[in-house]
Symmetry: C2
Subunit: 442 residues, 2 copies
């Protein structure tokens, strides 16, 4: 099967940041087989032709940290203090179930695909359901079951995620689009034993391990008080730092922490929207990059970041990091688009397959249309994406050579149906949520 995407301004995000001002791309089966300028394009009646109408063709965006199934929490108690422990955890434990996790994941994936996200790294509960939803929706997904030190919505025992993960990894390890991994929730919500076990599972199966790290002020205080260490130093002391580790957030890092992350080739999922909305802080991304630590962008769950797209993160990233560094010229738009594409692929150790538009790579592609009012004029495609675009400019999306979004609509799914299914499974949640909300505000 061959598809030609023509009349597009291609930003390849390859090593040389090659651009084709008026180009085309040929997709054969799952892969990109050719990239060229329009002048070279020959007629090919066997191919499906997609006219990009002078839009921007970019690599599919990579969301390196999210919780798909947390859709039901969106817009709920957003401005509460200590919302996670007072409010989200109890509601999750009471109301989250298999079906709700499944339908929520399906909804979230639909939302992400519509926004041009083609690869996600998700950690939550009922991860088997999330995998089914991912498979059905056709997104590229890294999925990890959470390990945590209390009974959860999908385990009556603390640390139930350890056993769950072994089965989960065994089941999904050879899937074309799904990569299972293991996800201890955070250093402070596990014990040394569970962290070490999780790491052994990651090592044995050679799958990633991902966790929240250096995100909470009380997390820092706990490790300071208990071990006189930072959370990163603690993880090093128990052998958890490795090139399989994707650490989400990493807001509060010392220089020694950064040296450790570099030494062990740890990767970082940076969630600027979630971290700033919750007033936590801005991770030192400039320093991380100076230490050659791969950094990707993440949205966090709909509960925390509200939007699930990378374009919103681009804009927030630009403004927060320029201000943080007191330099309007730091992180030019081009470098920010890198974080959401090729750099995200490096975080997932998949930069040989995805993250840029190159012959032989998987065809994960996005057309950003430039006919909408916010997209004119365009002197610089990267600027237009980072500073002007929003998700509604995403017109067409391919994952692994398959067109999943066309004319801003899902190709094989109906959004209203997915929403109705979710709504039908949200009734108990909705009722409890409203009760909890009253309590939390009092």
């Amino acid at each position: 099967m061959k598809t030609i995407i023509k009349n597009v301004n291609i930003i390849t995000m390859d090593n040389n940041m090659t651009e084709y001002k008026n180009g085309f791309v040929i997709i054969e089966d799952e892969n990109i087989s050719y990239i060229g300028n329009m002048a070279e394009l020959k007629e090919d009646e066997s191919a499906i032709i997609i006219d990009g109408n002078n839009g921007i063709l970019m690599p599919g965006m990579i969301n390196t940290h999210t919780h798909l199934s947390m859709i039901p929490f969106r817009s709920l108690g957003d401005d509460c203090k200590d919302r996670l422990r007072r409010y989200l955890f109890p509601l999750e434990n009471e109301c989250m179930n298999e079906k709700l996790a499944y339908y929520s994941a399906k909804y979230a994936i639909c939302e992400m695909l519509l926004s041009g996200v083609t690869t996600i790294m998700d950690m939550y509960y009922f991860e088997d359901e999330v995998a089914k939803a991912s498979e059905e929706m056709g997104i590229r997904a890294f999925l990890g079951e959470t390990v945590i030190n209390f009974p959860t919505c999908d385990s009556k025992d603390a640390f139930g995620g350890l056993d769950y993960s072994i089965n989960f990894i065994e089941k999904w390890k050879n899937h074309k689009l799904i990569t299972p991994f293991i996800a201890p929730h955070a250093p402070n919500t596990n014990d040394t034993n569970s962290l070490v076990k999780a790491n052994e599972i990651s090592k044995k199966y050679n799958v990633p391990i991902s966790m929240h790290l250096s995100e909470m002020d009380y997390e820092l205080k706990y490790f300071k008080d208990e071990f006189n260490k930072t959370p990163v130093e603690y993880l090093e002391s128990i052998g958890l730092l490795s090139d399989r580790l994707v650490a989400a957030h990493c807001i509060y890092l010392t220089d020694n922490d950064i040296n450790l992350l570099q030494k062990y080739n740890v990767k970082v999922a940076h969630c600027i929207g979630s971290n700033t909305k919750s007033a936590k802080g801005v991770a030192p991304v400039n320093k991380l990059l100076q230490h050659n630590i791969p950094v990707g962008l993440g949205t966090d769950g709909a509960s925390s970041g509200n939007t699930l797209d990378i374009i919103t993160q681009f804009k927030l990233f630009a403004n927060f990091h320029k201000l943080e560094n007191k330099d309007r010229s730091i992180f030019p738009a081009k470098d920010i688009v890198k974080l959401g594409t090729i750099s995200g692929a490096k975080v997932l150790n998949k930069d040989n397959e995805i993250g840029s538009i190159e012959v032989g790579k998987k065809a994960d592609l996005v057309i950003i249309e430039t006919n909408s009012v916010n997209m004119f004029p365009i002197f610089d495609s990267y600027s237009a994406i980072v500073y002007s675009a929003n998700t509604s400019n995403v017109d067409t999306v391919f994952v692994n050579g398959k067109c999943v979004v066309k004319n801003k609509k899902p190709v094989n799914n109906d959004l209203q149906t997915i929403r109705e299914e979710l709504k039908n499974h949200m009734q108990q949640f909705e009722q409890k949520a409203k009760e909890q909300l009253k309590k939390a505000i009092l």
Copy 2:
């Protein structure tokens, strides 16, 4: 003429923050004549019915600081150091002309209306052209000609804006939707004489005066070196502080500055997106509000902030001010929506006419649709607007009782035509811009 907007969740933004979960609004001619719950709605065959499909009905948003005609600069040299003086000013002086100002303004107004902005405060050159464009597009507009200490694109003499303003104010002072004002560029780009004259004109005609204030580090340095004062203290010393003054930016304020702004009842247009993208800083809005200083939101020009909508500012405002204050519960979404509506109206001294949905007020209204993927679930309408929405959720817009946007399209204008007209007048600009860009980057 009567219009009924039905099946909407109304957030009135009145003094009591009244909401109608399932309500309707009646518009008669220019005004809101009734607000009620759906149960009360009677059939009325004489009325035009607009079904809001359970969307959110909110007051039209107010953009208190912008430069409409700067559309051609969008995405041009975004990440250059000292972009304004090195790059924007020279290009503006060389290439901006009457026609370009007119077509750019038309385009920008179209973009704003599509995003739910119904009132703007603009300052630029060729303001008479901007007024024509505003009148044609049907937006509510406060328009001020710039006064500056060098020859400009519309004046061969420095301070030519003074004379221009007198004619401009005389011409437009009785217009229904247009309020002319006078706009000295900034304290440091004027001299005492021109500032005093501008203020006299403002006083004589009883029109607003607006200028950039405490925005630039070199502005602060200049007044410190020359007068041992802050820019605000300097303005006080020459009699410029008054309740007619709308000060844009106000990033760098001392406690004494804030006391002065309060004492003279000065208003502030806060441009969080523009100020942070340029790495300048975050204005102390929390303190300003504690001092009862009215604060509105502004986008600045497309050159600086890139987007021209208030919804983007909401999100940026939330994250920056929560982080700045290290408190996730400060500025709950409800208070942020206030800044873009009723508080903006206070900045313009028009809160008796616009800024909230109340019987007798002008019908400046926006329907935010909630069927798009990013708008579910909604436990809180304000949260959904601030944290989830983007401009593509704006479905229907009324200005002064007239429907100007319906089904996400301009009612009496064609976007593609407006874009083509602008493009045709941008050719010289485009060529020079590319030359300048090369020089500026070297």
